[in-house]
Symmetry: C2
Subunit: 312 residues, 2 copies
């Protein structure tokens, strides 16, 4: 497999998607800085179109397909990638089908329908999801846009870090959540190409530490049982993202569920922003590894904000 | 009484306070725009230092006092102005006393204490608050910084609109909440001096429509019974702010309590931001007056974010 993502493909992706996505702000908060004795820069991808960084990768991948003219993109996702692909498809004139587990939250189903995408439900097992996906691909002749095992998607995700590094002065470290590893791959490639000395940390819940073990053992691990509240991070790496994380010197750090909840609460109460559990793990990592970040300039990507009021 | 606030004093205030306050972002949201068929620009003062626009006026007033050297500033406030003054005092080396009703929420008391200010409790009647305030002023020799009946405070509040107009292209209308009228005065003076054609709307809950009636009858009305959920807007205008609102052609619009709650929810769910009830009335006004804002470019100042998780 040829793996092509580099600073150039990320810069090209940025020029390509910029008319269709938000330039999200970088916020700082002095009381959180005091609490952790660090200088933290929060990249607010929770404010991104469709509520998460996923809009970046989905737009890049869809634009690169060229002319729409009746063509269809397809994916399986219970969460943000499904919304992002439905949004990107609607923006660029493609049809879209999203395979979702029948147990998905109504609010997420509705959000995807609002963008005009079709939904096909599957059982809530990986096997049945993939079977259903394959049937849809066969039946519709659609094009699969995988949430992270796709270089165009990864180049798009890398634009969040690229943009952030334009918005801040030099950072000592950058932290992004790790589920399938698409965001973290793009983040590490962008950040370490621009500043080779920057440390790139992948943030994982301890209850979903498959990437941590994968990197330690040098072999991609299967996903953990899906119990962490950070539901967007329950997936495992693929060979592609494992390769990028290894090649670009990413270290994985883990955090407790309690720290994720506390991070969400701090972001709500002190910064007045809504961040889903999966999106708040970067701050939970700072909290659970204070010595590592003390007195340093740390970029934290808050990756998404799609959660309902009651989950907080 | 000489009233001195104009575009120059607001510009001077802006240069003065800029090192001490946040340049808050202006956010847009396409799903909210679709919902109201308008082009809305949200000025996020909920992200401001100490959680509200009040940090602007408090800093301007405190800096203009000159050398601190043991001097004390004093105010009465159950809410954001108290926090803002405590923050400004701490920043510039002043001592600070805030008179608060003994029924104030613990979280607000704690926030003021965290900035190192002293708190003196009063009964929850306006009479007792003013008596207590006067006693504190006598005893300490402190300087009163009124939350809105003060031109330096009003010049500071006007910097939110000034900054917003730098961040957006020309707006057709600008909306800010009206409690005592300090923010609205500064907003109207800044906006209409820069763009004489802009419409300036003051946003009031229908349950606290004293400014609406004051403007209609040409006489400052007393406050309504304090029942609106927008607790920061329960106060009434003073002669000073009434003068500015009249002089600068402000129209007052009112909204229902339900629309305030819905606005808070939209801001949370669609924009992923936390806005207190008083801070969300601008959007509630758009919702309750749709024809007025249809297809127009509307600036909405989201004035504060200080609310706890359970109030949503």
């Amino acid at each position: 497999m040829i793996r092509l993502v580099d600073l150039d493909t990320i810069r090209q992706a940025y020029r390509r998607i910029q008319p269709y996505v938000h330039t999200t702000p970088v916020l700082t908060n002095s009381s959180i800085n005091r609490l952790f004795d660090a200088n933290i820069f929060f990249k607010c991808e929770n404010f991104q179109k469709a509520g998460a960084f996923k809009a970046r990768g989905a737009n890049n991948a869809v634009i690169l397909l060229g002319r729409a003219s009746g063509r269809r993109v397809v994916t399986h996702s219970s969460g943000n990638h499904g919304q992002a692909l439905a949004f990107a498809a609607a923006t660029h004139g493609f049809q879209c089908t999203v395979v979702m587990p029948s147990t998905s939250q109504t609010v997420k189903v509705d959000a995807i329908r609002e963008y005009g995408a079709d939904i096909v439900f599957s059982e809530n097992t990986l096997d049945d999801r993939l079977q259903t996906l394959n049937k849809v691909l066969e039946r519709t002749g659609g094009i699969l846009i995988h949430p992270y095992d796709n270089d165009d998607v990864i180049s798009g995700q890398g634009t969040a870090a690229l943009e952030m590094l334009h918005q801040t002065r030099r950072l000592d470290a950058i932290i992004a959540p790790v589920g399938g590893g698409g965001l973290m791959s793009g983040t590490a490639i962008a950040a370490r190409s621009i500043y080779p000395g920057i440390e790139a940390f992948g943030a994982e819940p301890a209850l979903a530490n498959d990437a941590f073990i994968s990197m330690q053992q040098g072999v991609v691990q299967p996903p953990n049982p899906p119990i962490t509240i950070a539901d967007g991070l329950r997936t495992a790496l693929c060979e592609r993202t494992f390769h990028y994380l290894t090649q670009h010197g990413v270290s994985i750090l883990t955090c407790s569920e309690e720290s994720i909840r506390n991070a969400q609460r701090l972001l709500f109460e002190r910064m007045k922003i809504v961040v889903e559990a999966s999106g708040a793990v970067g701050l939970a990592i700072v909290s659970d590894n204070r010595e590592k970040f003390r007195r340093r300039r740390v970029g934290v990507i808050l990756s998404g904000g799609n959660c309902d009021i009651t989950s907080l």
